[in-house]
């Protein structure tokens, strides 16, 4: 299985993503520059954190129109797993691959610290390795992680079990303590906390590694007949 880590000008968690996949999973990962026009050769697509295009206009607003995004959106449409973390999540929201929008943190501060998350839905290709309602420790590092959506969208997210992670203690003002949401189809996940920064015990937590492991296992299960 081959992972693509998309690199935009201003991405800064791309190496951590590659590390989580190559060292943590012993799988293959390649960085893909934002000017590339195809990610069709990869089995999963990771959008890393950072400050693409300096967060100009709105976080993710400009990266969403980067050349590589056309192919990312096509592959997402085909059902390939796409994970957006932090700025990657913001890009997925701006691209309309996930519902909602991000606002400045309620306290207007950049927050960088470990947080406790609740796995609200472990029936996804990203979270099958967790137990339902398991509490995991994954760090956050963002200034604009205050997730917003209207009542109607929130109801839909709840009805379809699209809220995958919530904060045990809401640090940024997000609607319904939302830390991560998945699309209806179940192949595009966006989350503000950084699983790649919790991919090994020496980093303080290895809880995030299970997420990458789940993507790999899911891929193996669906390819077992063809390989």
């Amino acid at each position: 299985m081959k992972f693509a880590v998309i690199v935009f000008p201003g991405s800064n968690c791309d190496d951590d993503m590659v590390y989580a996949v190559t060292e943590g999973l012993n799988a293959e990962a390649e960085k893909v520059w934002y000017t590339e026009t195809s990610v069709a050769d990869y089995d999963a697509i990771l959008l890393p954190g950072g400050f693409s295009y300096g967060d100009y206009l709105r976080s993710g607003a400009i990266a969403r129109f980067a050349p590589v995004m056309t192919s990312v959106m096509e592959e997402a449409e085909k059902g390939k797993p796409v994970l957006g973390v932090c700025n990657g999540f913001q890009i997925l929201l701006e691209a309309g691959l996930l519902p909602g929008a991000m606002q400045r943190n309620q306290n207007l501060r950049f927050i960088c610290r470990p947080t406790e998350l609740v796995v609200e839905n472990n029936q996804t290709g990203f979270t099958a390795g967790y137990k339902e309602n398991e509490t995991i420790s994954v760090p956050i590092a963002h200034g604009e992680g205050n997730y917003f959506c209207d009542e109607k969208t929130l109801k839909k997210l709840r009805d379809n079990k699209q809220i995958v992670f919530t904060y045990k203690s809401n640090a940024n003002g997000s609607v319904a303590d939302i830390a991560g949401v998945i699309n209806e189809k179940g192949n595009v996940l966006g989350m503000m906390p950084h699983p790649e920064r919790a991919a090994s015990d020496i980093l303080g937590s290895a809880d995030g590694l299970k997420l990458f492991q789940s993507i790999l296992n899911h891929w193996r299960e669906s390819h077992v007949l063809t390989s």
């Binding site: 206009l57 929201l93 519902p99 309620q106 205050n146 917003f148």
Partner: protein, 82 residues
């Protein structure tokens, strides 16, 4: 050539943490008459005049300049002599 001024504001019902912080500061400065503060963005474009000018401006606003999930926009068009 026209000068287009776009104003982007938060939709009603969307909390504006920066606005509230500014309002609190103004109150601390004894400007107690301030009832509310709304922040937004101002973007100025110079555009070659086309027949479907307004349609294209609105497209730009909806696709990039604003995020329709949380923001509204208004704009004005002014002729510029070049």
């Amino acid at each position: 050539m026209v000068k287009v001024q776009v104003y982007v504001t938060l939709k009603e019902g969307v909390l504006d943490p920066q606005g509230s912080a500014i309002q609190n500061a103004l109150h601390t400065m004894e400007y107690k008459e301030v009832q509310s503060v709304q922040t937004g963005k101002f973007i100025e474009l110079k555009i070659e005049k086309t027949t479907d000018l307004e349609k294209r401006i609105e497209e730009m606003c909806e696709k990039l300049l604003s995020n329709p999930v949380i923001e509204d926009y208004t704009y004005t068009i002014e002729e510029v002599v070049s």
